[in-house]
């Protein structure tokens, strides 16, 4: 599991979190452009999955726990985006903020659980 592969994901999801946090502070709901940004992060997660599948660099092997995390993180942003966009107040931005932070956290956990039995 390449460290760089994970850190890019962390940065991308934190950028999305920062944008959602900004909207929360400004009392604004989630906008379409944020959903597109979320889709970009999601696309990156898929790329990451493919890279790990075809080229599991960095030694060690993917454990069952690792695949649970990889699978789980793919659902977070689509669910958060769907749930957020139906609400047209600042609270939708909180939903997206939470979702993006969870993805960042799951990305970091990927490094920890890599190679764990």
């Amino acid at each position: 599991m390449s460290t760089l592969l994970v850190w890019v994901g962390v940065v991308l999801s934190l950028l999305l979190a920062a944008w959602a946090g900004w909207h929360t502070l400004r009392n604004r709901p989630v906008i379409l452009r944020q959903l597109i940004a979320g889709a970009v992060v999601e696309a990156y997660l898929l790329v990451q999955l493919v890279v790990v599948l075809v080229h599991p660099a960095g030694g060690g092997a993917a454990s069952g726990l690792f695949w649970i995390y990889v699978g789980t993180q793919l659902f977070v942003l689509p669910l958060a985006a769907t749930w957020a966009f139906a609400e047209r107040t600042r609270w939708s931005s909180v939903v997206l903020l939470a979702g993006a932070l969870v993805v960042a956290f799951l990305q970091l956990r990927l490094l920890q659980v890599w190679g764990q039995a």
Partner: protein, 154 residues
């Protein structure tokens, strides 16, 4: 009556959903891979996950009658298990759940969440008294397409 799934409730439901996911994944993994090591602890971990799922579902679909017991069970769970993990640490040292040590592994969110839940259920429920509309909130009819429990409570 103000729907539990809107406004601040929108964000609350998403946090409940995250914990439901975390607790179920953790409990499910423990139960399926090493249940024999600590049947009680791992059953408890999975039970915690189920409670969060029920709470998330109830709050998201405006089922107050279900949300109240779920949130109160959750509150009792985190307080009892959290206290036990300090009083009798041997019980949970190797077999932790989301409620162990009041959920410190999850930034204490499991400890704070039930209180936010109760506070939100009270606040959103009180809105009905303020409005005093005999028919409930007709403008929210679109959001409770399938809620059979909403009628008597709302």
């Amino acid at each position: 009556m103000r729907p539990t799934s809107q406004g601040p409730g929108r964000a609350l439901v998403s946090v409940y959903g995250v914990l439901a996911l975390a607790a179920c994944a953790r409990g499910g993994f423990q139960v399926t891979t090493k249940f024999h090591e600590a049947p009680l602890s791992y059953s408890l971990a999975l039970f915690a996950g189920v409670v969060y799922v029920v709470a998330t579902f109830a709050l998201a679909t405006n089922r107050r009658w279900l949300a109240w017991p779920a949130v109160l069970t959750e509150m009792a769970g985190v307080l009892v298990v959290g206290t036990l993990s300090f009083v009798a640490p041997g019980l949970f040292r190797l077999h932790a759940s989301v409620w162990s040590w009041f959920g410190v592994e999850y930034l204490l969110v499991p400890l704070v969440l039930p209180f936010l839940g109760v506070s939100w259920l009270r606040r959103s429920g009180r809105a009905a008294v303020d409005e005093h509309a005999p028919g409930g909130a007709p403008d929210e009819a679109a959001s409770d397409e399938t809620a059979p429990g909403l009628g008597p409570t709302g």
